[in-house]
């Protein structure tokens, strides 16, 4: 055998490394894909059991207002109206984002356009600190500070959507801010330079050029903030009051999908109607986060055009 031919035709050490690397990374990917798929399959199979096994109707679930999984109505169907929780979840989420967005955009503009390097670094670390605070701490602060504040200044018992929105406002602020900063930084430098060269003031440049070209990025940031707010359980549970009734206003006790879920799951028995109904709520949450993701993708694609 010709040694050179042999060397060329046999697999070298480097090729083998390459193969091993490939196998390693592919199996990691496969594992993640399997985990995600099995979570979906598991939650879906449990969540759909409410409708298939327990024969609850989907429209009653989505639009009914009476949530009482351990009781049944006169016809023997379980009372599984999830509308109060759906309303509660959307209520706190949208309100929190409405509060947070102006602050986040303002802070982001300050950080990218106004602040010195030092000020920017300081703000950056403050925002990162906000991310690191555990949600139970937010919840406790909410319970001891926000709830009495709302009770004294707005009325009611203090527990309700407004308190939940205030707590979530602080929680989604860092997410929205840091993503807005990223999108503002991604605006090409020459846009700004061209605008300033045309004689536009700083404010005109920010308003007409920077914000306009970063719109899709900012919207993405807001949607991500919504996804975070929608999925938050513990902090909201502590301040919203957890009454599974249609919210009568921003100051009356309400509940969210997550708060009902975390409270009930340990107290129900696997396989019963009550437990399945909670899984249906979980399925709803999962679908909502999927929808948020799709919206983000959609905005991203539109923004690129």
């Amino acid at each position: 055998m010709d040694p050179i031919k042999n060397k060329i035709q046999s697999t070298s050490k480097e090729t083998r490394q390459d193969i091993i690397g490939k196998i390693l990374s592919y199996s990691c990917i496969a594992l993640i894909v399997i985990v995600v798929l099995s979570i979906f399959a598991f939650v879906a199979s449990k969540g759909l059991a409410t409708f298939i096994v327990n024969k609850a109707s989907i429209s009653d679930f989505l639009f009914g207002t009476n949530w009482n999984p351990i009781a049944t109505d006169k016809a023997g169907n379980p009372l599984l109206g999830a509308l109060p929780m759906i309303t509660g979840s959307f209520g706190v989420t949208i309100l929190a984002v409405i509060f947070a967005a102006p602050f986040a955009i303002g802070t982001a503009l300050y950080m990218t356009e106004v602040a010195s390097k030092k000020g920017e670094k300081l703000l950056q670390s403050v925002i990162e600190l906000l991310v690191g605070i555990p949600s139970v701490v937010y919840g406790f602060i909410g319970l001891s500070v926000v709830v009495p504040f709302v009770r004294i200044h707005f009325g009611g018992s203090g527990y309700g959507i407004l308190s939940g929105a205030f707590v979530l406002f602080v929680m989604v602020l860092p997410t929205v801010t840091s993503m807005t900063v990223d999108s503002l930084r991604a605006v090409p430098r020459y846009y700004k330079e061209a605008s300033l060269a045309l004689g536009a003031t700083k404010w005109q440049t920010i308003y007409k050029v920077l914000l306009r070209s970063a719109t899709s990025g900012i919207l993405t940031a807001i949607i991500f903030g919504m996804a975070r707010a929608f999925g938050e359980a513990l902090a909201v549970q502590m301040v919203i009051g957890n009454a599974a009734i249609m919210p009568k206003g921003l100051l009356a006790p309400a509940s969210t999908l997550t708060s009902v879920l975390t409270m009930g799951i340990g107290n129900t028995v696997m396989g019963t109607v009550g437990n399945n109904a909670l899984w249906s709520l979980a399925l709803m949450l999962l679908l909502m986060s999927l929808i948020f993701n799709i919206i983000v993708r959609f905005i991203g694609r539109k923004g690129r055009m």
Binding site: I23, Y26, S27, I29, A30, L31, V33, I34, N68, P69, I70, A71, L143, S144, V147, P148, R151, S157, G158, Y159, Q237, M238, G241, N242, A243, A244, I245, P253, S255, T262, M263, G264, I265, G266, N267, T268, V269, M270, G271, T272, G274, N275
Partner: protein
């Protein structure tokens, strides 16, 4: 196309590995449980369920393991429902519950063996500023059904009542409802899951009323007397104070040697006379009455 087949093979390979792991695990666990049934007290005990009972069992398990180094005990919370369903499914050795298995929907009580390890008393608590320290049972019921909505109707201040209930299906709520509500359903209201949060909320919210286990009642909240009877341990023992329940540790069928040894330890004087009292429960042995799963109370002779 080639890529897709590659990815597919990788996925299959990975899942094969996963399945392999699963098999290996189940093999080892079955061998450990068989070794537990041998004559020496050794093995693994997994205990899951009621968070109200968790601190007592955790402490007892700690002490038990120092004496029996071959037994390893894991204690977890999760709630009474989880405890009952997991022990019924055979996933854990012992299921802790605040309520009788018979009272829980979806549980076949006949398959489970009940071990009562403690008694816990509960009392209605109100915010300190409502100006009420005693209610009749009927008044309390009417407050929780929403018929009475202002404290002045029961002799307190002109202040609207804020109901705070426990989570649906929680053991504390079940106990409260069977002993107070007399078959009526409570008005829909705020719900909270943990004793600690309820205590904080009642102490801070004007006009709030809820109920707590004795061990969580502090000077921050006002415990109510009912029909003139004070919520004390002495009154629970004689059933003069009616709102109390057992803490249960359920096993599926007969427990194995290690589990039996631990359950006996839970019922022994060592635990009953010190730990049980320290952590705010009452000892079973002190009780002068007993309750069955239909909430019927009979005297112990």
């Amino acid at each position: 196309m080639k890529k897709i087949t590659k990815i597919a093979t990788v996925i299959i390979a990975a899942s094969a590995i996963l399945v392999g792991c699963g098999k290996a695990n189940s093999g080892s666990s079955s061998s450990s449980s068989s070794s537990a049934s041998s004559k020496a007290v050794s093995g693994k005990i997994t205990i899951v369920g009621s968070t109200a009972l968790q601190p007592l069992v955790e402490k007892a398990a700690e002490n038990f393991q120092t004496d029996n180094s071959k037994v390893s005990i894991t204690v977890q919370g999760g709630g009474s429902g989880t405890g009952l369903s997991q022990v019924q499914a055979g996933a854990v050795t012992v299921g802790n519950s605040d309520i009788f298995a018979q009272q829980s929907d979806g549980i076949k009580a006949s398959e489970l063996e009940d071990n009562k390890v403690a008694v816990v008393g509960m009392a209605p608590v109100v915010n300190k500023n409502v100006g009420v320290t005693n209610l009749t049972m009927k008044q309390l019921r009417n407050i929780f059904t929403g018929k009475i909505t202002n404290w002045k109707e029961v002799g307190g201040k002109d202040q609207s009542i804020v109901l705070i209930n426990r989570a649906e299906g929680s053991g504390t709520r079940a106990t409260f409802e069977t002993n107070v509500m007399d078959g009526q359903t409570a008005a829909k209201s705020q719900e909270q899951d943990s004793n600690g949060t309820v205590q904080k909320m009642v102490s801070e919210t004007p006009g709030a009323i809820s109920y707590l286990a004795f061990s969580y009642i502090t000077s921050d909240v006002q415990a109510l007397s009912l029909d003139g009877v004070k919520p004390t341990d002495a009154n629970v023992i004689t059933n003069k104070w009616k709102i109390w329940s057992y803490e249960h540790m359920y096993t599926k069928g007969k427990p194995n040697a290690a589990t039996k040894a631990f359950l006996d330890y839970m019922k022994s004087d060592k635990v009953q006379k010190s730990l049980v009292k320290e952590l705010g429960y009452l000892s079973i042995s002190k009780m002068k009455v007993q309750k069955d799963s239909d909430n019927k109370v009979t005297e112990i002779k």
